[in-house]
């Protein structure tokens, strides 16, 4: 599937960006430690770390889903025939998609409140919460869209009888190469 390949490529890019953000955050914390030894400090490193974590988490979800990284118990599934396995997978993906759509929908009021109240963090930095909650919310929205698209792609494959291909995109094991 071309579309699926594109989604994977885009999400690998997203994952790389998250990695860069995490590395920058580590460097920032480290600099603060060094500066503190020299008698000054940026202050607020833990506040910023929290934002980085929230954003990294929401944007990483879709990548992990496409790499089959979200852990599932496959005691029953693994005993089923290929068609049965695909039905397990499809059911699981449908439930996941519905749940994530609901999560993204319920994350919106959090951002909405910050927009309406012009909320700023209760810290000396006074970070406008919109700046950090908007990308966080976008990450969950992204996850919801990716989940729905992947489910539809898999559904089409299953309807066409391409069970092993469907298993490759929504099955229970991750890509072998990422583990080596």
């Amino acid at each position: 599937m071309e579309l699926l390949g594109t989604l994977r490529t885009i999400n690998r890019g997203v994952a790389a960006l998250i990695g860069v953000m995490l590395l920058l955050c580590a460097a920032f914390v480290l600099l603060d430690i060094v500066f503190r030894q020299l008698g000054s400090s940026f202050g607020g490193t833990d506040e910023i770390s929290g934002y980085v974590m929230a954003i990294a988490t929401s944007w990483g979800m879709a990548y992990t889903m496409l790499e089959l990284g979200h852990v599932r118990i496959d005691l029953l599934r693994s005993r089923a025939a290929p068609v049965g396995r695909c039905l397990f997978d499809l059911f699981s993906m449908t439930v996941l998609s519905a749940t994530v759509v609901l999560i993204a929908y319920k994350c919106w009021p959090v951002l909405e409140r910050s927009i309406n109240n012009n909320s700023t963090a209760n810290t000396p930095l006074e970070t406008p919460l919109v700046l950090v909650q908007a990308p966080w919310f976008a990450g969950w929205l992204w996850f919801a869209v990716m989940a729905c698209l992947t489910t539809l792609i898999a559904l089409r494959m299953i309807l066409k009888g391409e069970f092993s291909q469907s298993e490759a995109i929504i099955g229970a094991f991750g890509e072998v190469e990422t583990l080596k």
Binding site: R12, A15, A16, I18, G19, V20, L22, L23, C25, A26, A27, V29, L30, I33, R36, T45, D46, S49, G50, Y51, V52, M53, A54, A56, T57, S58, G60, Y63, T64, E67, G69, H70, V71, R72, I73, D74, L75, L76, S78, F88, D89, S92, V95, L96, V100, L102, I103, K106, C107, W108, P109, V110, V132, Q133, W136, W140, A172, G174, T178, L179
Partner: protein
């Protein structure tokens, strides 16, 4: 309510729905059936505040640290070196898994990160050398749990935060029980493999000179441990910030002892993002479930139950142990700590127990929860690093280790000094 959660969990998990999603679904169910309030309106806030956490960022940092050590070859050489020292024991390479996990525990604050690191290095060996996958992978899952007992430890930071006890003292208190557990694992594996030799692999004896030469390869990990723990005890970094020190240290060590390349860096990043998101979906789902459980009155149920028993201090602690074992089957460990600490710890202190000691006892029980099915993050991580075989093998293989942990919990109750000796001696 507990029954509903247990049954619902088993049913949904067996449908092979992702674990994190199952926890959300159970939370929706609690909201629907057990609460007269629209708890779902709190969903977005819980998702935000569960992930907006400066403590949790230690998880990707520790995972990244492990990934860098693995992909630069440092971890592989550590594993090989420890193999030379312990593989003469009945069980062979299984001991190297425990020993490597113990060493990495000293550089990682997260059990999941430790298990992921060791699993990535060790799993290919098992398949190559024809080990029984159960005991082999169980040893990794269980050894990995030492990540939160041997300092540094994210869970001890959380415990210290919630109970207002000193984190450096908790770290000191975890050292002896952590090493004790590692030794107990090794003894247990040796006994099992003496009785049933086919479970272990080939016993291999290396010449002494070989063993001595191998020691060099332990140096990087010892250096890294010194950097992380040194930065905490010298007052340069808070225990949470030490995770960032660890990442920097891993880069330096990979550069000095292994290899740094653009390719390994990107692969480390992909691995980190994947494991972190996997853990975080479970953590966020668990915190939402916890929110609904607490709103529906789980706290009062527990409180009323425990204070209604009218037990002696010893009886009380034993009930608490049983309770953690049962809850540990079903509840993810960080949430388990967050739900129970505000209820349990005041009662425990009221009974005359030391909060530092109880912190260590709780960590042993939390370690158990990490390797008991159906919800056991370390089992999932090890299974994720395998390329074949069923989850149940890892679960079975981890079972004997869970029994050793239970024995350690009893030992701590009988001899509190196992935990308290170091912090008292150095104070």
């Amino acid at each position: 309510m507990i029954t509903y959660v247990a049954v619902g969990l088993l049913a949904l998990l067996s449908m092979s729905i992702p674990v994190g999603i199952v926890l959300f679904l159970l939370g929706f169910g609690i909201d629907w059936f057990f609460s007269s309030f629209p708890l779902i309106r709190g969903l977005g806030n819980m998702v935000w505040s569960a992930s907006n956490s400066a403590t949790l960022i230690a998880i990707p940092f520790f995972v990244l640290l492990g990934e860098i050590l693995v992909r630069s070859g440092v971890a592989t050489r550590t594993y090989a070196a420890l193999d030379r020292w312990v593989s003469w024991l009945p069980g062979g390479l299984v001991h190297a898994n425990v020993a490597t996990a113990t060493m990495f525990s000293a550089t990682s604050g997260s059990s999941v990160a430790t298990a992921a690191t060791v699993a990535t290095v060790a799993m290919p060996q098992a398949e190559k050398l024809g080990y029984d996958p159960k005991l082999f992978s169980g040893a990794i899952a269980a050894g990995g749990t030492l990540g939160i007992m041997i300092p540094p430890s994210i869970n001890l930071i959380v415990y210290g935060f919630l109970t207002q006890t000193s984190i450096p003292q908790l770290f000191l208190a975890g050292l002896i029980p952590g090493i004790g557990l590692a030794l107990a694992f090794i003894v247990m594996v040796a006994i099992i493999c003496t009785i049933k030799p086919h479970l272990g692999g080939e016993r291999r004896v290396f010449p002494l000179a070989d063993m001595m030469r191998a020691l060099v390869h332990l140096l990087p990990i010892i250096l890294l441990f010194t950097m992380i723990i040194g930065s905490i005890y010298n007052g340069w970094a808070t225990p949470t910030e030490a995770a960032a020190v660890g990442v920097a240290g891993a880069f330096v060590i990979a550069g000095a002892f292994g290899g740094l390349s653009f390719k390994m860096l990107t692969e480390s990043i992909y691995g980190t993002v994947k494991i972190t998101s996997m853990i975080m979906l479970v953590v966020i789902g668990a915190s939402f479930l916890n929110f609904t459980l607490a709103s529906a009155g789980l706290g009062q149920e527990l409180d009323a139950f425990l204070s209604g028993l009218g037990l002696s201090p010893l009886g009380f602690i034993l009930v608490v142990v049983v309770m953690y074992i049962v809850l540990g089957f079903f509840i993810e460990t960080l949430s388990l700590m967050v739900v129970t600490i505000p209820i349990i710890v005041p009662l425990v202190i009221e009974q005359g127990y030391d909060p530092i000691w109880f912190g260590i006892l709780m960590i042993v029980l939390i370690e158990m929860a990490l390797i008991t099915p159906p919800v056991g993050l370390n089992l999932y991580v090890v299974q994720g690093a395998r390329q074949s075989g069923s989850m149940s093998e890892v679960m079975l293989g981890a079972l004997p280790f869970a029994i050793v942990m239970l024995l350690m919990a009893f030992a701590l109750i009988a001899f509190p000094q196992i935990a308290l000796f170091l912090p008292q001696a150095l104070n």
